[in-house]
């Protein structure tokens, strides 16, 4: 490299987030290090079409370039690279956000205690410790913070229950088992600002009187696990006497359900417990336990240090504060977008997300992971709010939005929802364990009948319904395998699962299935609709 770099070492910031690494950030970082640069590995800023992103420190601030590859070192350092973005925080995607929880993610070295402290870290914990535990609980109540894992239960009330419970041993558990497709906020925070989560855990422990805490992280997130362990080791003296440990999941989606997660920490099969008793009273090892999502706990340092009012002032209706929305799937500007509640679904998908990456029209978006409803663009007026989504027959869940273009076959997506539930059911309750398998079979019959119907109109040949009937092992002639009868059966089954299941896995699987059926009946071969609309589109 040029002599200038050796005498005047350039400082560059490159993400070490798993998503950035998957796009080649490690190679880029190595190239810059080899060129003699001082490379700081940060978390991700959260916009993935500019990753791998390199930010160069200059007199004018941090200037971003992205996407960049390992061969681009020279042009980035001399400022002539074609993908020069200017200051990253001034890009429209970032300038319009309200980053409360993710303020430091992508900015600092995630495991540097100095960086965290220099940016206002630990202020929330210091303040909390100068207050009575009840005052801390009151502050969280006043903020209006609701559980970010999906249920939306007021966090302060949960803490109050544990605070009031008379017991020697209490626990704080962080649910970092982020299994929903289309969500990655927990992962990004753990990799990009782990001390924020640790500080929130320590505040929760102080407020309720717990001495030990667990962070249960899924094994699919090896980077997050390593970063959290390193951060816990480095910050042990700050959070003491509170102690914290990471527990690795083992690939069971249902362990994201809070009681299954507790069972898993106890070393058992991740089977759901019946409620009551609530975990707040009889949780981990039978003791009162605060169990909160990563994003709920990570919001707490802000609430304590900036004040409950600063948090509650943002939001919509009964949904207060900000939500780190994750825009994913077939979308141009996919990434993490933290904003106050109330922004509409359409603004998120079309204005912020920029529509599909494939350039085709958006046909459906799934909000809230595998258990969330599919909405067509006609529902884009919906404001992001727990109550508004519930009214529309959907859920916010963990605020992941997966965008699909017009090549998607919604009957296949409905089948996938059932298949996923069958694969991940813990087996404890019948509607979920058996219902999901029967659901896959019903969907197979609907899809077979639909395709037969199409083939028949096309060629006027073939035995109608032969394949559909063949799926029955017994008395095929006694069962009506027609689309209408099977659709009715699907609705019945969904009803049983929705009201008869023990937890959200079986209980919410009907959301994607029924929303697909209601909004996209043509994909289910409904009479009077064109039942093969996307065959040519799917190439």
């Amino acid at each position: 490299m040029s002599g200038a770099n050796e005498t005047n070492k350039a400082k560059v910031y490159i993400s070490r987030d798993m998503a950035s690494v998957a796009l080649g950030a490690d190679d880029v970082a190595r190239a810059f290090a080899d060129a003699g640069c001082d490379v700081v590995r940060t978390g991700s800023r959260g916009l993935f079409n500019i990753e791998p992103l390199v930010e160069v420190e200059t007199a004018q601030g941090r200037i971003g370039y992205g996407p960049v590859c390992a061969d681009d070192v020279t042009t980035v350092l001399d400022g002539s690279h074609a993908n020069r973005l200017g200051k990253v925080e001034e890009l429209p995607f970032f300038a319009s956000q309200q980053r409360f929880t993710f303020a430091l993610c992508g900015v600092i070295d995630p495991v540097s205690l100095d960086d965290y402290a220099a940016n206002g870290g630990w202020n929330g914990l210091m303040l909390a410790r100068s207050m009575a535990p009840q005052q801390v609980v009151d502050a969280v109540k006043a903020s209006g913070l609701r559980g970010r894992g999906g249920a939306g239960f007021p966090t302060g009330i949960k803490w109050q229950t544990v605070h009031d419970a008379p017991a020697g041993d209490k626990y704080v558990v962080c649910n970092a088992d982020e299994g929903d497709s289309g969500t990655f906020a927990d992962r990004m925070l753990m990799e990009g600002d782990p001390y924020c989560l640790i500080e929130g855990m320590a505040i929760a422990a102080y407020a309720v009187g717990a001495h030990h805490g667990y962070i249960y992280t899924r094994s699919e997130y090896p980077f997050a696990i390593d970063t959290m362990k390193e951060a816990i080791r480095r910050s042990a003296h700050i959070i003491a006497p509170f102690t914290l440990e990471v527990r690795d999941g083992a690939g069971a989606y249902v362990c994201g359900e809070e009681t299954a997660l507790l069972e898993s920490i106890e070393g058992k099969r991740g089977q759901v417990r019946a409620k009551p008793p609530l975990p707040a009273l009889e949780g981990l090892f039978g003791m009162p336990t605060v169990i909160n999502n990563v994003l709920s706990i990570a919001a707490v340092p802000f609430i304590l240090s900036k004040g409950a009012e600063a948090y509650a002032n943002v939001g919509f209706g009964r949904s207060r504060g900000t939500m780190p929305v994750q825009i994913a799937g077939n979308v141009k500007n996919g990434g993490l977008y933290e904003i106050g509640f109330g922004i509409t679904l359409g603004e998120l998908v079309m204005d912020i997300g920029g529509g599909t990456e494939s350039g085709r029209p958006v046909r459906a978006v799934q909000v809230g992971g595998p258990l969330g409803a599919y909405f067509p663009p006609e529902m884009f007026h919906l404001p992001f709010d727990y109550e508004e989504f519930a009214k529309a027959g959907g859920l916010i869940g963990h605020a992941g939005i997966t965008v699909f273009d017009d090549t998607v076959d919604m009957a296949h997506m409905a089948r996938f929802a059932m298949e996923f539930c069958a694969a991940e059911s813990c087996g404890k309750c019948t509607p979920c364990r058996i219902g999901s398998t029967r659901g896959v079979e019903v969907m197979d019959r609907i899809i077979a009948a639909r395709d037969e119907q199409t083939a028949e109109t096309a060629s006027l040949g073939g035995g109608a319904g032969y394949l559909a009937k063949a799926l029955y092992s017994r008395s095929p002639s006694r069962i009506d395998t027609g689309i209408e009868a099977q659709t009715q059966l699907l609705r019945d089954l969904a009803d049983t699962m929705k009201f008869g299941s023990l937890c959200a896995l079986g209980g919410f699987t009907p959301y994607p299935v029924l929303s697909a059926l209601d909004y996209f009946p043509e994909d289910f071969g409904a009479p009077g609709t064109d039942n093969a609309p996307h065959k040519e589109a799917a190439e």
Partner: protein, 150 residues
């Protein structure tokens, strides 16, 4: 492997909640959890063999047979599907010569489904021997195939 179990209980205690961390450690060491270890683990933690067997078989991560030399995981979840994941999944099986969920007869490659790696804006995603790879297409698959041939 008995030493791993003993070292684990000495270091972390012989309480039941150590079962999952212990299984992870064994799998890290040996690549899988051999059925022959079930009674040893049960004895070490003072729980029944049925309990240990139940836990091993409940969690997708724990395998009871040796994996291939290389592990290729392909995401099957919705976000990757919206970006053409199904086609890549089929192409991967074809290209690597092993069906999804199987280990190739020569023991070189295991191909597994994974439900979400949390890289949902840049799919289809894969994990090759623990290394995440985004935007998997035919060209990337060729590279992966070359890598795991070694």
């Amino acid at each position: 492997m008995d030493e791993v179990i003993e070292a684990w209980t000495t270091r972390y205690g012989a309480t039941r909640d150590q079962l999952l961390p212990m299984l992870h450690a064994i799998q890290e060491e040996a690549g899988y959890v051999d059925d022959a270890l079930v009674p040893v683990i049960a004895k070490a933690l003072n729980i029944s063999r049925a309990d240990v067997h139940g836990v091993i078989t409940f969690y997708h991560d724990f395998r009871r047979t040796p994996p291939g030399k290389h592990m290729v995981k392909i995401c099957r979840a919705e976000s990757c599907q919206s970006r053409g994941g199904a086609k890549i999944e089929a192409a991967a099986a074809q290209r690597l010569g092993v069906a999804m969920g199987e280990t190739r007869a020569d023991g070189q490659i295991s191909l597994e489904a994974v439900y979400c790696l949390g890289l949902c804006a840049t799919g289809p995603n894969a994990m090759v021997d623990g290394r995440p790879i985004s935007r998997v297409d035919e060209k990337v698959l060729d590279r992966i195939a070359q890598e795991v041939a070694a």
